[in-house]
Symmetry: C2
Subunit: 382 residues, 2 copies
Amino acid sequence: MNQQRPDIAVIGGGQLARMMQQAAIGLGVRLRLLAEGEDVSAAQVIPDHIVGDHTDLDDLRAAVRDARVVTFDHEHVPPPHLEALQAEGHACRPGPHALIYAQDKALMRERLSELDIPVPAHRVVTSADELDDFVESVGGYPVVVKTTRGGYDGKGVWVVNHAGSAAEAFATGAPLLAEELVFFTRELSALVVRRPSGDIAEWPIVESRQKDGICKEVVAPAPDLSDAVAASARDIAKRIAEGLDVVGVLAVELFETADGRVLVNELAMRPHNTGHWTIDGAFTSQFENHLRAVLDLPLGPVAPREAWSVMVNILGGSVEDLEAQRAEVLERDPDIRIHLYGKSVKPGRKVGHVTAVGDFLPDVIVRARRAADLFEEGKSDE
Amino acid sequence: MNQQRPDIAVIGGGQLARMMQQAAIGLGVRLRLLAEGEDVSAAQVIPDHIVGDHTDLDDLRAAVRDARVVTFDHEHVPPPHLEALQAEGHACRPGPHALIYAQDKALMRERLSELDIPVPAHRVVTSADELDDFVESVGGYPVVVKTTRGGYDGKGVWVVNHAGSAAEAFATGAPLLAEELVFFTRELSALVVRRPSGDIAEWPIVESRQKDGICKEVVAPAPDLSDAVAASARDIAKRIAEGLDVVGVLAVELFETADGRVLVNELAMRPHNTGHWTIDGAFTSQFENHLRAVLDLPLGPVAPREAWSVMVNILGGSVEDLEAQRAEVLERDPDIRIHLYGKSVKPGRKVGHVTAVGDFLPDVIVRARRAADLFEEGKSDE
């Protein structure tokens, strides 16, 4: 354990903290980690780590004690704890006043509506009767029901097709938000980064392709994106970053509709899966710019370095030993960029990602999918 | 400390091991470090480290114990210890039979001569009389005298201008090698990487500019390099890698002469200062390809990503707090790529490097020099 004062305390030891460390090494930034266990993804690569629970205020205090600033691998720190840390003089970036909108979907919808940012029609519902009223207000089924807090990667989200089929959602006992089911043509993501001083940088808008509610594939920049939609998506992300006083990376997941509108789906106030392509495909990665932003350093250039970058997640499949599989993946395509998270393989778990870059998009997509397939199933149809 | 078996044991905790870790994180490769102290450069970023002495065989054994392969941050492990590790079944990459030529300049000169690779005229000298004979054989002073082992960054090297001025060198008591002083027009470096199977990849030939015997600046690719000289430099590096059975990165420092010849100056069998530009300027960095090579994985593409990359070392100067200086450097040039090594500042010590990339070389050079100046002295004339 090194004895130097850390620059940044990172709460949560997942792959986002792990990838922050790659950027921190170059910048000479010292990270301290609050890790869920001794050998979690980021604890494998950050010597100065404390094992503890991010829902325990004393563990949080131990981790942030002498750090200059505090940032996050996830949104799961309880808001009262964030407020307590802030009140005790710790600079949380993003701060609790911003993070709450990434933690609570009902508050987020309400606040974005106030900011006049387009969101799906929505209402907090506490009973089947209230849900019926909402369904009627949007012209009938299907609608979407979500827990206001704690859902991610498709968990805590139900598509409700008829009266009574929301029973599972109500059975959770959690506060629920009902939303219109947006008939989108595709999902976009707007990734921006903001300093405490207000400077903002915006990576190109990307297209995100989901599988079973989990981001599976990202194409950067989004193909065939009209200038108007791109400008609208960028404008929305900037206004949210400013309106909510976000510091660090903000990812705004968006629905693009057939009539050229964009609506906000979700927010994340940390490096995000739809920004992993920036490690290999942009002049400054989201991880480096996140660190630069939370330290209030000038932001790095966000231009793409290649015509196309395609990132595909590696989800846990039948291949158990990803490290052993590396050789075959690289044998097939030595140019593919591999990112393994040091996680054990479980079905559907995000255990890594691959990125391909190049000039001809169909080829870049095939290469990235093939590499991910090989890591998941040991074979590929691509 | 994590409990997993490491993939690679790295001997030596300097900046090369530190930068290997950035690549290792992506590949999902677990490193174990033998570090000189608890908070040396690489120990700050590699949790699985052992503090010990690379000249102590038991410390080496403890570090390499359960690692799949062993590699190095420097050339200072005593050859008998390397032989012992190898005999005990540890795969040293490069192996002692190759490393010896990076450790002993007399053996290196002899072996390269056998391989018919151009080197300066040279002779091992044990007395002033033998030095006189050598001086006569090369047509008079000046000549260069070097310790055969242990020198680096200008240490252990003397330019001898007249009889008697080699006294300091002889006073060391170390075995000495006398060499003709080559009147070179510039220094080049040929960086290649080789797998155990024999596959080789070659980055572009770069120009290296020294200051007081220390590499200060690298321009990639070497400007105005004739095709013939480039081919000759590449050919030399490949023949050395093959002839000496090098595994991993090999850097061949070369003199280019006015009449278009290249002569080998020094060898390094590890990532090398003249290859740091590859982190930001090539599709695969020397650090990633070194790891891929020692694990016998397919090598990544070595093409440059930009027209020009210029790396300038940050040598310890009057600025003591490099981390505090980061803000000013980035304020002046947010596009500069910063690499700090987590080392305390001492006069002339390599404490980091910066890399600029771009299309117009004079501008790229100015930007890189200015950033390094700001880190060294807090101001720049550029």
